[in-house]
Amino acid sequence: MPRRRFYSRWFLPLLALLAVAGCRARDSTTKGQILLWHWMTDRDDALQALADRYTKETGTKIRLELYAPSDAYASKVRAAAQTNTLPDIFGVLGESRDLASFITSGRVANLASAMSANNGAWQKQFFVKALATNTFSAGNEHHVSVGVYGVPIDVTNIQMLYNKDLFKQAGLDPERAPATWNEFIKDWRQLKAAGIPGFVSGWGETWMIDCFANNYAFNVMGEKKVLDTFRGLVPYTDPDWIRVLSLFEEIRREELLVSGAVTMVNKTAEQTFANGKAAFAFNGSWCVNVYKGMNPDLHFGVLLPPRLIDHNPMRIWGGAGSSFMVNAQSPNVDASIKFLQWLTAAPQQVELAKATANLPANQTSLGDLPPTLAAFASKMDSTTHPSQWPLTENPTVTEAFDKGVQSILIGEKTPAQVAADVQKLKKQQAAQ
């Protein structure tokens, strides 16, 4: 047969057939082998070592796949959800409404029965707040069936930090952190007089502004009034909200914020604090590991954001740091749950905490924590998080609020103007 005829009769049709056959989606789940997708570059080695050990102990093969950064990971998981190619175990990065969408579309297994088995043995080992992040209660705003939908592998909370060496340099007691806002401002003035730069945080990432503002909103008006604002029962023009916004005006007036912090990403803010270019920072418990890498000689202490008033407790954002969800449509649901039970047992949690300097989700494995990490762990009871609230604010309103705070910090708008803008948008959103 001449070569040209062979190509036209057999080779090209075969090639076309193979091309079409190759378009089939790759199986992401295989019976007897667990595939786990994660995004944690800093924990990849530790997780891989644990997965290998689990395979050795049980014979169940665990395959880890790392997709980073977290934005790319979140997009990959969304795309996999739309094409039904989610792995056995994965994480949902985002807010509670995102997790709710995954659950209501049948992609996340309810772990409530596994959690409550053996008199709730698995459930009891976690920090209550860690599990709350992945729990949906009766009457939740997303209409998700009551249950536990994720397994926290570590916890986190966000507090303030101060540089002990800079405190000493300014003549302040490095072992006494300011507890109230007035003390904080007083200490800052002393630091400023000594030529020391003030406060840094990655406020170019607006969620960190939201976090800081929420801490003080809870302190000034209490949880009920904050949630009533989200419900539309209290306006943002309420004097308590103006008081919260005025804090940012005071920060500007006192020249507390390090130059450029208003558009700074948190990584740069972390570098600034680690280099001793700021006396205070606002950052999460993950910073212990980050600062260790950036400047092992940094001496810093942890403090709750200094309270403004006494009659409401200061609440900080916290809860589950990283959580894994089990694919409800996987043929390995039970095996995946067993692996996660093993991963969150005390010995593995201690190992993970040691390797990564993150707070373990298992509260029975806190024994060997370094002092700064222990300081973060001791405040887990003060944590709260939007994912634990019965309802959350409309994201468009939240964005307007956070951008408004940036406007106050650059002296462009007053607290009253921002409050009025946000309230106007809130009304518009409610009308829609």
């Binding site: 090209l12 091309a19 969408s101 390090v258 450029g260 994201p395 964005e399 650059i410 462009e412």
Partner: protein, 296 residues
């Protein structure tokens, strides 16, 4: 149709088929899908989508102030790029087009910034513009102009212009290369003959170079408009749209709608509106380009 002709036609389609399949799968279907999603309220995950008709477009056009602020910001950067960046590119192209020493070296150097990643460029300029330890502030202080030092990208008065400077620094190399190619395509005899006739350099430039370069100018301006309006990576690595909405651009708003508030349908409608605006601008420019080529 006889068999050899039919076979010939079939073979032709067979060869074109892979390209058509790939184009359909990766361009046409996603393109049509964006139109479909733009009339739904959808969070990107749920199996349920709510039909909202033209509601998303209505919101974008009449209620979303941040969207129009982002369009205005992108417009300001585009105007600066069209003028400052392209004039700089033209001047450099004119210089390098002459017989100067080391012209190949300059060609490589001028073309380097566009090759660099926008994220890397943003990070480098972040350091230059830094308020506390930035190179620019250091230079100003050294020159006795310390009173002008500031956090350039966090100050509402300078943030957008700072972004424009970074964008123009990164982008002028493209215009430079295209303009240089255009200049080199002009027959040298024209300018040489004019010089023999006693024409000045300005006369040669304004009466010979500019008219012959008009189609190239339009090409560069179309590419500049399309490239600048879609600016994104530099913003993400420097200001993230802040402070406030001062450096928000259309792509950051589309991304905010999609991942910030899980409004995929709304993000698609913003994408379509943005596409229509870019298409309209490009069409006007192409019309002008045609008109200019008729003149020459």
């Amino acid at each position: 149709m006889n068999w050899p002709k039919a076979k010939d036609t079939f073979t032709t389609y067979l060869f074109v088929a892979p390209a058509i399949v790939l184009f359909t799968l990766f361009s046409l279907i996603p393109f049509l899908k964006v139109f479909q999603l733009s009339v739904f309220d959808w969070d990107g995950i749920s199996t349920q989508m709510h039909f909202v008709g033209l509601g998303n477009f209505k919101t974008a056009l009449f209620r979303d102030g941040a969207w129009w602020t982002s369009m205005r910001n992108a417009g300001v950067v585009t105007i600066l790029a069209l003028s400052v960046q392209n004039v700089l590119a033209l001047i450099l192209a004119l210089i390098v087009d002459r017989e100067i020493k080391g012209k190949n070296f300059y060609r490589v150097v001028f073309y380097l910034p566009p090759v660099l990643s926008g994220i890397v460029v943003g990070l480098v300029w972040n350091w230059i513009f830094d308020g506390s330890h930035g190179l620019l502030n250091y230079a100003l202080s050294a020159a006795g102009l310390g009173r002008y030092a500031r956090a350039w990208l966090a100050d509402p008065k300078t943030a957008l212009f700072g972004i424009a400077v970074i964008h123009m620094w990164k982008g002028f190399g493209w215009g430079f290369v295209i303009l240089l190619a255009g200049l080199q395509a002009i027959p040298r005899e024209l300018s040489e003959a004019s010089r023999v006739d006693g024409a000045s350099e300005w006369y040669i430039f304004s009466r010979i170079t500019v008219p012959l370069m008009l189609p190239v100018f339009f090409l560069v301006s179309i590419l500049t408009v399309l490239g600048t309006m879609q600016i994104f990576d530099i913003i993400v690595s420097t200001t993230n749209g802040g402070p406030g909405y001062h450096t928000e651009v259309p792509i950051t708003r589309i991304l905010a709608a999609m991942t910030g508030s899980s409004r995929f349908g709304y993000a698609c409608s913003l994408g379509i509106l943005f596409g229509i605006i870019l298409l309209a601008v490009s069409m006007v420019q192409m019309r002008l380009s045609k008109w200019s080529s008729q003149l020459t």
